[in-house]
């Protein structure tokens, strides 16, 4: 491959690469050369739950930790990360979404279905009355 004519760029870093000015045909990515993906969970404070923030490519677990730190913990506050191989995550199949289809109809399972607010207000009123009687 002749290296006499190289790509000249306004970016000196690109010029330094000595890329041949004649483009070579793209031969594709070799089979099996893709990196595996990992899922990243971010913990903002000690004791807080880890929250899934996205995924990354990495060649192994240690570099997954390195890359997770860079992608997801280089700006906002962070005390810890979990990194899990995507292939290790156990999940329902997308076609099993019908398992959950009727859940939104079951509003009797919502916490808001319990009429407790009146009881709380009555209790507050009672204790306030007792306190004011004691102070008099």
């Amino acid at each position: 491959m002749s290296r006499t004519v190289t790509l000249q760029s306004l970016d000196p870093r690109v010029t330094r690469l000595e890329i041949p000015a004649e483009q070579q045909p793209f031969e594709g990515v070799p089979e099996g050369s893709h990196l595996q993906t990992f899922e990243v969970f971010h913990q903002a404070k000690s004791g807080a739950r880890h929250i899934h923030v996205g995924s990354i490519h990495a060649p192994n677990a240690e570099l997954a930790m390195v890359f997770a730190k860079e992608q997801y913990a280089r700006r906002s506050q962070c005390v810890n990360l979990w990194v899990v191989k995507t292939s290790e995550i156990i999940t329902f199949a997308p076609e099993d979404a019908d398992l959950f289809a009727t859940t939104p109809d079951k509003d009797y399972r919502d916490a808001s279905g319990y009429k407790v607010m009146q009881k709380i207000l009555a209790w507050k009123q009672r204790t306030e009355q007792q306190q004011s009687q004691q102070s008099q």
């Binding site: 000196p12 870093r13 490519h57 990495a58 060649p59 192994n60 390195v66 860079e70 992608q71």
Partner: protein, 255 residues
Amino acid sequence: MTADHRAALEDLLFRMADDALIYGHRNSEWTGLAPILEEDIAFSSIAQDKLGHALALYHLLTDLGNPDPDTLAFTRDEQQFRCCHLVELPTQDYAVALMRHALFDYAEQNRYALLEQSTYQPLAELARKVRGEIKYHVFHASTWLRLLGNEGTDESRMRMQAALDMLLPYALGIFEPSPYEQELRSAGIFPGEEELKQRWLEDVVPLLESAGYRLPAIETIEPAYGGRRGYHTEHLQPLIEEMTVVFRIDPDAEW
């Protein structure tokens, strides 16, 4: 502080600051070009950290009566720089960039660890502040070193070994003795380059050997000295010209 101690401290700070600036700039050349996206971001982020260390160190020099950090970084001549040759070398092969990263950052980690005990409090405080960042830099470097060493392929091993063989004399140049070793020790500012080199060897030799690299006998290698006295490789001046081109267009511009 006596005048001798002050001169010794300034010499140490210029070595460290110039190392961090030139090394950070060299690594930033990989931004957009590193082998994979995630690594590109990681390596760029480490380069940014190094520029941050340089800025903090130039600030310490400013506090000692030197010009402001921008003036120190962007207006000095090549001969006024005190960086070692290792950080000046251009890297067209990512294997060289990674091997230099490991060799340099283990020295940085040990240097700052020693400086946590420095009697010069501003430097001791800075050393404690950057501890976590440098721990991460070393983790990044050592992970790649193992992955491309005996966990890697024939090609990765060959390229990393070639990088190591090429870089070792330059890496030993980090520890070029200072004319102020005696002053630094007697004032409790820094225990000296020789002690630093011994600690560095205790880290680097087992790591390299366990990762499958061949190491020649260290005492047979001629270190690349000169950088700490202002004698540099042919690569530093073009780097300074490129690094300062925007600054020189308008030195008084507000950014």
